[in-house]
Symmetry: C2
Subunit: 626 residues, 2 copies
């Protein structure tokens, strides 16, 4: 790639670091373990370190060429395990990109492939008889570099938190309610191993996706969020597709699902995976359906199986598999207000009632497990019968499928295949807990991965909010990953800003859940923000927020002057009167008092007020005070 | 007012009815009881009726002249009770509008007053020895027209709901969890009277605000929301100030607090109250502080008392009174992360530590009650020590004040003065329930009125979302009214769109709470929306949503063609494949089956699939299908 091209490519990607932030790396004990974090330098000299999903894109020193892909950080680890082999791999077909034969659109496809040429890697798979899943290693007692990486990443740098988490009274008062989770003070690599072995957490990391920065999904770890992206109607450029990914990670997407349909999906997927530091999930039946021209009843196990191999070789980290939508459950949906709203679920329902046969994903489940463990693809057992309206929440169709997902979880675990369970949709607040309880009961604490839930149905245009309410609650109750909802839900396709709005709403929900569960250190960032507020360190407030740009622009709408960034007041009360300033007066006053006077004050007894006047009770603060 | 002026005035107010909506009025048994509701005409012929806060402004037949004010719907009722008298009223002073003497800015003030001239009404008060509060009437066993009005308003028109709330299985499954509330199937005037007599609900309705459309705040009624407005730095016109009010009510504000400070606040208040069909609340100490030039320690009981009379005569419906911020509690705030963040609380803290005397609102509380019952102003006992950060949530300062508000509630009730209690601020999810429990325990179910709570501190720019999560939860737990938070919270002053964003977020929270509590009929609107979704009635989806304009514009971004408004697909799956269509196929299929075949299907047993083909399983839907 020549310089101008490269410049153009870089320009099209969002790469500026966040304000006052630098990328720092923490080394592990195992070779090649180098965990990225975002360090925020506050104006008072403190350095706050936060979890960072944005990958090398926010590291100005990282050389990035979307036509070559990211550095394969895991390659050495995978190689060293010696239980995999490279092989020729499946023969690529025109149909993989949604065209019936090479001639049709041949030029376009070839042009796209040429763009992706530099991204082709020889696929890798488990050697005969081997199982390369992180769960298998965990059960063998092996702590992988991925596990150590995750332990370091989940802990973050705790040093800076002492400033905020020291006070005993406060700690006792704010002690979280873990709702059954068992979160240790410090996450050790051994704890990660144990949770993965137990099936209570998953590490989505296909051996063909060595570029991934390992992360974990489980109720005893930080709550994660997923963002969805799809290919453009007309795929214009590799930069454009990769930018969607970069944008989603920048705002906090822990994983990204590629829900592309139609043309060019195989090629686009090469572009996305080779440039993604976060795990990529897909719903393989979408591509399988394209291969049969969108006619569900023409789907066959062979076409589906071939699609699994195709995507496993590309490096997809988790597959949504709707194996729980069983024939006997279909009639349970006929009385529903909104029937079957899951695309995958309805594709399979259509297939089943046409052939009047059981779901081929259910009947071939063991064969699917064999594929999953040969590449370490994680199951995301799909909820094809999730409720599409409050009216259908927690009904027999939904729970019958959930119980089946529980059976399938046990089967997957027999194969040491990592498994998470998909859930909710539309569920009113008072029915949310039952979803968590049933899932834990039947799926034995396999990680729950829920869409929302949306707590009401009448907020089109604002479903990111209607669902963030349910997401925060179910996250607190034990859900491990929250699938975001954008403001365009039910209405249209999300644009760049909709994706950001959805992600921020879900970062709020996930953080609220972490604080409520009492995840060690989660609250420290809030405390740092509150201290910055009390001390009127405006720039620090922006930098510590989930969206520094928006916070600063809102502030500047009312008080644009740069001097006001240091002003000891805000536009709510104005310079003339400030409650925080008064609190400081009160504090200074109390500090001046002796023990007896403190006691007197505590009893509200009369006392010379002269003392306070002595420390000065000035209410007017100079507008340009530095 | 001449025609062009009037036209100009009307143009500046938002008066278009919502799409497909008309204002309907339901007559009560008592004279003059005529309850407005919004009727939505769906394209399938159904008529859905919803609670309407927008007042006459959305009734095209209503003649509105902001210089004369709204029709005094309650005037006859107040007159008929014969326990009030008109009187000359307090002498108006230049200081009421924040100027030291008539000469300074005299012209400006006089110009403003001239604008408000048509809005001046002779004040009314209780005759000597009379108590004119709705609570007093309720305790005398009197059902006032206000109470009947509220009963009709809370019930809404239930007829249309039969279509949606009939199914026994669904009703049993979705039955709400009232969390201790006791909400009857039908709200009777007698029930309203009983709740008000018990102190469990309040009807903010000053006898000097006859324009108010009566509404109720209590845990056994629909959860309400409040929006805040303030005067412009330079008040430009009466229309501009009234439009802020109209805009807030349009999107669902049940009450509006006028938090104006600085100049012209008395005159602006005349404009707002005379044109407001919703109860208006204020924080009188803000104006009292203006009268002493912003120097808290110069406040006196007499200046404050005079301000209460001034505002009671104008018709303010509820006063925030920070009588619970006691001298012995001040030292409890010195160890806090963010000290005292309530403006009223800090004004009083400053006054107390300067004079070293107990809060004069606490020591003069009985005298305040005498004023409240002479005009029927409702107490909103302010939470001057609410937490300004998660770190300070549920601390001793907060709960000591709450217990004091409990004492004061009993005192107010001795005077038959209506009382609600202000609460939260910043509270993580797991500490929310304790707030509700403590409030119910100490305040004996007096209505709780909370700000948020904000569940995290790190979302500047998105605090309407961070707080909508907490608001929905505490609303479900029993909070009667939710004070909104806008995206500008902590950053700046909300503009027109920020106000709308805050209100919509809080309508979502309140509706989620109503559905979770199982408020009769609340869920029907969601069900109507879901049915419209399943039947692809796009226009009905927009009309049934909280913000029809936004929903339609989002839809049109992806599918602009008008024809797509009737299209039997959406942009998520597109015309080629539609899960809802498949559900219909499944439904048709099941309907064709006999009992035995149904059973066979239920058992997933083999069966000729020909039957399904017979009813047709076409996956492709014509894009312009009507």
């Amino acid at each position: 790639m020549n310089a101008p091209d490269k410049l153009q490519a870089l320009l099209s990607l969002t790469r500026e670091p966040f304000p006052a932030s630098t990328k720092v790396y923490v080394d592990g004990a195992l070779p090649g373990v180098k965990v990225p974090m975002r360090e925020i330098a506050l104006t008072n000299g403190e350095r706050v370190t936060v979890y960072d999903t944005s990958g090398p894109y926010t590291d100005p020193t990282a050389e990035i060429d979307v036509r070559k892909g990211l550095a394969p950080v895991r390659a050495g680890w995978i190689e060293a395990r010696g239980d995999t082999e490279t092989y020729v791999g499946r023969q690529r077909a025109a149909l993989d990109d949604g065209v019936k034969n090479e001639d049709l659109h041949g030029d376009r496809i070839n042009a796209l492939r040429a763009e992706a040429a530099g991204l082709q890697r020889t696929p890798r798979r488990a050697k005969a008889g081997q199982n390369v899943s992180q769960m298998h290693y965990a059960r063998q007692g092996i702590v992988t570099p991925e596990m150590e990486y995750i332990a370091i990443r989940e802990n973050g740098k705790r040093e800076w938190m002492r400033e905020y988490l020291g006070d005993a009274e406060r700690e006792a008062r704010l002690k979280g309610n873990a709702m059954g989770a068992r979160i240790p003070e410090i996450i050790t690599p051994e704890f990660v191993r144990d949770e993965v072995a137990r099936g209570r957490a998953v590490i989505p990391a296909n051996i063909n996706h060595p570029e991934v920065e390992p992360m974990i999904i489980g109720r005893n770890f930080l709550v994660k969020i997923n963002a969805n992206i799809g290919n453009s109607a007309v795929t214009s450029s590799i930069e454009e597709e990769v930018e969607k990914l970069v944008w989603s990670m920048r705002w906090g997407g822990d994983t990204v699902m590629d829900l592309s349909t139609g043309r060019n999906i195989h090629t686009t997927r090469d572009w996305i995976i080779r440039n993604s530091p976060v795990p990529i999930g897909t719903v393989p039946i979408y591509q399988a359906l394209e291969k049969v021209g969108g006619v569900a009843e023409d789907l066959t196990w062979n076409i589906f199986r071939d699609t699994l191999i195709e995507q496993a070789e590309q490096g997809v980290d988790y597959f949504t598999i709707h194996a729980g939508v069983r024939l006997p459950f279909i009639h349970l949906t006929t009385k529903r207000r909104t029937g079957i709203v899951s695309r995958g679920g309805s594709i399979l329902a259509k297939w089943m009632i046409t052939h009047h046969k059981e779901n081929f994903l259910y009947t071939h489940f063991d064969e699917i497990c064999e594929i999953m463990k040969a590449y370490d693809v994680t199951f995301s057992l799909g909820d094809g019968l999730r409720p599409g309206s409050s009216a259908d929440a927690n009904d027999e169709a939904q729970f019958a499928e959930l119980r089946t997902l529980g059976e399938l979880t046990k089967t997957a675990w027999k194969h040491d295949v990592q498994t998470m369970i998909e859930g909710p949709g539309h569920v009113p607040m008072h029915l949310i807990q039952a979803n968590m309880d049933e899932q834990i009961k039947h799926c034995d604490e396999a990680p729950f991965y829920t869409l929302g839930p949306l707590t009401i149905d009448i907020a089109p245009g604002y479903d990111h909010i209607a669902s963030a309410i349910g997401a925060a609650m179910i996250g607190w109750m034990g859900t491990a990953m929250l699938c975001y909802v954008t403001p365009k839900e039910h209405l249209g396709l999300p644009d760049r800003d909709d994706v950001k709005q959805g992600i921020i709403a879900y970062k709020i929900a996930a953080h609220a859940a972490n604080n409520a569960k009492g995840h060690p250190g989660s609250r420290a960032r809030d405390d740092a923000m509150s201290k910055a507020r009390f001390e009127f360190r405006w720039r620090d407030q922006f930098a510590l927020g989930l969206d520094p740009e928006t916070a600063e622009s809102y502030h500047d709408e009312t008080l644009p002057k740069d001097s006001s960034k240091e002003a000891h007041f805000c536009s709510m009360c104005g310079p003339k009167f400030c409650s925080m300033k008064i609190t400081q007066d009160v504090r200074d006053y109390a500090d001046k008092l002796g023990v007896d006077e403190q006691a007197a004050l505590a009893q509200g007894m009369a006392e010379k007020s002269a003392e306070f006047k002595a420390v000065g009770g000035e209410l007017y603060i100079p507008i340009h005070k530095a």
